[in-house]
């Protein structure tokens, strides 16, 4: 016979206001197998927990039921409580009589009390069959992989490496730096990213603990938290980076001119190129799609001018494999393509540009030296219209979410434009202005008051070319008037979306994403830097639109999560996982195909299913799918569930 103790929590009035807790405690004390039952105001408080400990010792309990809130709140708390007095933690169960009872049945106290009793009885039946489980121990490889070398990836890599652990940083471009390095200046302090980010890039490049794999992409990830195997494709640069000194002569001699992606197509680059002069690593790659030798079979001007013979047209992609313990995904963002927006010209007008293009025009090291000459004819624009929320907050046509950074960068861009063209006029069409960071509101006021940016509350219905002007039709909803502006240039604050390829990476890593392919965090408030899958952490705009301060904070947060993982020598893994009854298993493989974590395989000899306990997350999909009943979840087996159903349905 079991010796079970039941502890009913009032949760203040949360439970006791609806459910008669005292009555329950009395009723339950007569239930078969229960040797003790009581109620208490706050079971999770120190005195509450102490009471449980005392009773476990005094009554020599072999199982504990805490009837309280959801197990996601305090299951761990109470399991630790009973473990501290020598009871196996998996012999402690939570009966959820708050979220699943008192909160939802406030209008009917009598029935709520009856239901609470049933919930507790069902949990007692489960507990009677619970095994004393022991968590698994898994060794940890104390090496981190960071995917994406923007400011999020840079910050996370430095934090981990500075703590003494090795980092492998994978960046798809030939240099780290990301979008931040394209920016003119940063809000709200107007310091230039070249001054604040390039030193960090150099640190990454020189750090003895960081292995920087630029121009590389993650190809395949296998394994599980603490023990990942990561296959990385090192894309053929057609330049031997070990020999290359970064002198730049090859780029000088290359005859090809194609639009530069780094300058957002506003300038030309060569077919052999680095992203920008401060690149880390400062080594060029050959763009095979545009190289004359690759497309037409002759030229090789770069090769002729390379004194160290670093050019290698025969180079092929290579693969490296790394052992990794934790992975930070910092794949960043891109802007929505303005060609999708037909009302603003489908991207066909040269002088209708997006937020990153104006950054390049305003950047002192950009293609126009910081003077925003407009792309079509190189004239200085005297009237510039900024349109906010282009594609954002537009659930009918594009994206319902707020891109969060555009209000601030628009103030900054309009301000910098005014600094470059003091006699020009900047107009901003806005829906609301959301400047809710430290120093942000003051920055906006400075823009309006000192730089005389004209803010117009309303949407723009149409933008079209009219001779050498760009006509803007909008509404000022504060005065109720239609507005027509003959602008010289229009800047669209287009929506932030996950970077190109981020979706593919999320699929490779089997990470959950939202409807727009932003990565999903484990909990929106309490676990914002972890992914739902153990061992994966999130940083930066890959998880959702955010600005630089927030990105850096999240990157450091993700790094500290990795460090706390690395602070242990072994990982303990939850033992509530699937297990196979080999005598019953017929080897049909249903469990193998349904497992989202690839934790099950069929043994090649016995043809029976085998669960890798370190990978299994205990979701239960396989036990539901198993036609023979061979696959069972520890402490959630078929018999337990039937006993629970019986307890619920008996009169």
């Amino acid at each position: 016979m079991s010796r079970i103790g039941v502890f009913v929590c009032h949760c203040g009035l949360n439970i006791a206001g609806t459910v008669d807790v005292e009555k329950i405690a009395k009723l339950i004390s007569d239930y078969p197998g229960v040797v003790y039952a009581t109620d208490y105001m706050y079971m999770c408080s120190d005195p509450g927990q102490d009471m449980i400990k005392e009773v476990v010792k005094e009554k020599n309990l072999d199982g504990v039921v805490v009837a309280a809130c959801s197990p996601t709140m305090h299951e761990t708390t109470f399991r630790n409580t009973v473990a501290s007095v020598g009871l196996n933690p998996y012999r402690c169960e939570i009966a959820n009589i708050r979220e699943q009872c008192s909160w939802v049945h406030q209008e009917n106290k009598k029935k709520a009390t009856e239901k609470a009793v049933k919930i507790i009885e069902a949990i007692i039946e489960k507990l009677k069959l619970d095994k004393s489980l022991i968590p698994l121990s898994v060794p940890i490889t104390k090496r981190a992989l960071v995917i994406g070398g923007g400011i999020a990836g840079i910050q996370a890599s430095l934090d981990i490496a500075d703590s003494g652990y090795e980092v492998v940083l994978v960046e798809k471009n030939q240099s780290i730096g990301g979008h931040m390095l394209q920016l003119s200046e940063t809000f709200p302090t107007l310091d230039c990213p070249q001054c604040i980010a390039t030193p960090k890039m150099v640190q990454v490049g020189q750090h003895p603990k960081i292995k920087l794999l630029a121009y590389s992409e993650v190809e395949e990830v296998s394994g599980y938290v603490g023990n990942f195997k990561v296959k990385i494709r090192r894309k053929a640069a057609f330049v031997d980076w070990d020999r290359c000194t970064g002198c730049g002569l090859c780029m000088e001699k290359c005859p090809v001119r194609v639009p530069s992606e780094f300058d957002e197509l506003l300038s030309k680059r060569k077919a052999i190129y680095t992203l920008f002069p401060q690149a880390v690593p400062n080594k060029p790659v050959i763009d095979a799609d545009n190289c004359i030798y690759f497309t037409k079979g002759k030229c090789r001007a770069c090769e002729k001018n390379c004194s160290v013979k670093a050019i290698d047209f025969e180079q092929k992609d290579t693969f490296v494999e790394e052992d990794i313990g934790a992975i930070i995904v910092a794949t960043g963002y891109d802007l929505m393509n303005k060609a999708e927006i037909s009302e603003y010209g489908s991207g066909e007008y040269e002088d209708v540009i997006d937020g990153l293009q104006i950054e390049r025009l305003l950047c002192p090291s950009g293609p126009t030296g910081g003077i925003p000459y407009r792309p079509s004819d190189g004239k200085i624009p005297k009237e510039v219209v900024f349109i906010q929320c282009v594609g954002s907050r537009d659930p009918e046509h594009y994206y319902p979410y707020c891109s969060k950074i555009c209000c601030m960068y628009t103030v900054k861009q309009a301000m910098l434009y005014k600094h470059a063209v003091p006699d020009g006029q900047a107009y901003v069409f806005y829906m609301d202005i959301r400047c809710n960071g430290k120093g942000y509101e003051e920055f906006l006021q400075r823009g309006i008051e000192e730089d005389r940016i004209l803010y117009l509350r309303g949407r723009v219905s149409k933008v079209f070319k009219d001779r050498d002007k760009i006509k803007v039709w909008g509404a000022d909803t504060l005065t109720g008037r239609k507005i027509e502006i003959s602008a010289d240039m229009v800047v669209l604050a287009t929506a932030m979306i996950p970077s190109k390829g981020a979706k593919k990476i999320a699929e490779k890593l089997r990470l959950a994403t939202d409807d727009y392919s932003f990565l999903t965090e484990a909990h929106p408030k309490l676990r914002p830097v972890e992914s739902l899958t153990a061992g994966y952490f999130l940083a930066g705009a890959a998880q959702g639109p955010k600005d630089i301060p927030e990105t850096v904070a999240q990157a450091s947060g993700a790094a500290s999560k990795v460090l706390s993982l690395f602070s242990k020598d072994e990982l303990s893994h939850e033992p509530i996982i699937a297990s196979v009854d080999e005598e019953v298993c017929v080897g049909c493989g249903s469990c193998v195909s349904i497992c989202a974590y690839e934790a099950i395989e069929l043994d090649s000899l016995t043809k029976k299913a085998r669960v890798n306990p370190a990978i299994c997350e205990g979701c239960g999909a396989c036990s539901a799918a198993c036609p023979s009943g061979a696959m069972q979840q520890n402490n959630f087996n078929k018999r337990q569930i039937l006993e629970m159903v019986d307890a619920f349905t008996k009169d």
Binding site: S342, E343, S346, K462, F464, D466, K471
Partner: protein, 295 residues
Amino acid sequence: MKISYFPGCTLKTMAKNFEDSALASLSSLDIEMKEFKRWNCCGTVYSLTSDDLIHQVAPIRNLIRVKEEKDTRVVTLCSMCYNTLKRANKLVKEDSEKLDKLNNLMDREDVKYNGEVEVLHLLEILKNEVGFSQIAKKIKIPLKGLKVAPYYGCLLLRPPEVGIDDPERPTILKDFLGSVGAEAIDYPYETECCASYHTVVNVDLVVERAYDILNSAINRGAEAIVLSCPLCDFNLDNRQKEIKEKFSDFKGIPIFYFTQLLALSLGLDEKVCRFELNFVDPRPLLRSKHLIGEV
């Protein structure tokens, strides 16, 4: 090809030039337009009130008539008719409760409607079934040198669920103009509203809007406008009298139904175009381009 045809009221009255030119052109393209029997008003403006089903009776009864003749498709020429029929059809296809109520309202009909009929605009037939490239092969008199600004108005394109093209940057009329050899003029007002029924009570508003639309096209070099809606036509064509009274700089510009240009380019007798019904006579322009003979 044979297809059920819904003319609507205006095509039998004010817009005879639209209907006659269309029927003649289509017959020369081997499309038989079968005007179904006992058609009634399309319902004119599609009702946006949520509990006013009585407004949907007229369009749905037309679709019942089409079904009675064992047809599954119906084509319209007027943008307004197209919009009203198509939206009413969409409503009943998506809301079975409203469909039931409508069928009950019309309990004296022999046939119940269950959303079987597809509503099409003639431009869709020309684009998707005849094909603009085929039209280009069949035309005898390319409208070379004729600079025409397409005017879509609202009802062909909005709301997007029933529109026949991108509501912001449509190309179907431009592509049509290309197929008959005319030069399409790009201008920003092509999808602006003509002020619609305000023409009954607020002529001034119509005059201002029509002036902006027409002047924008003229300033970009248009010699004529092409459209597919008799109401737009009334506001842009007939109202030019009032525009001239209000704006002394306004020069005037002929307005065509797209089917008039189609008939002309197919080499049909000029009479089917019924140019005498156009308020601004387009014939001097056509003569100057040698597209029709001298008087």
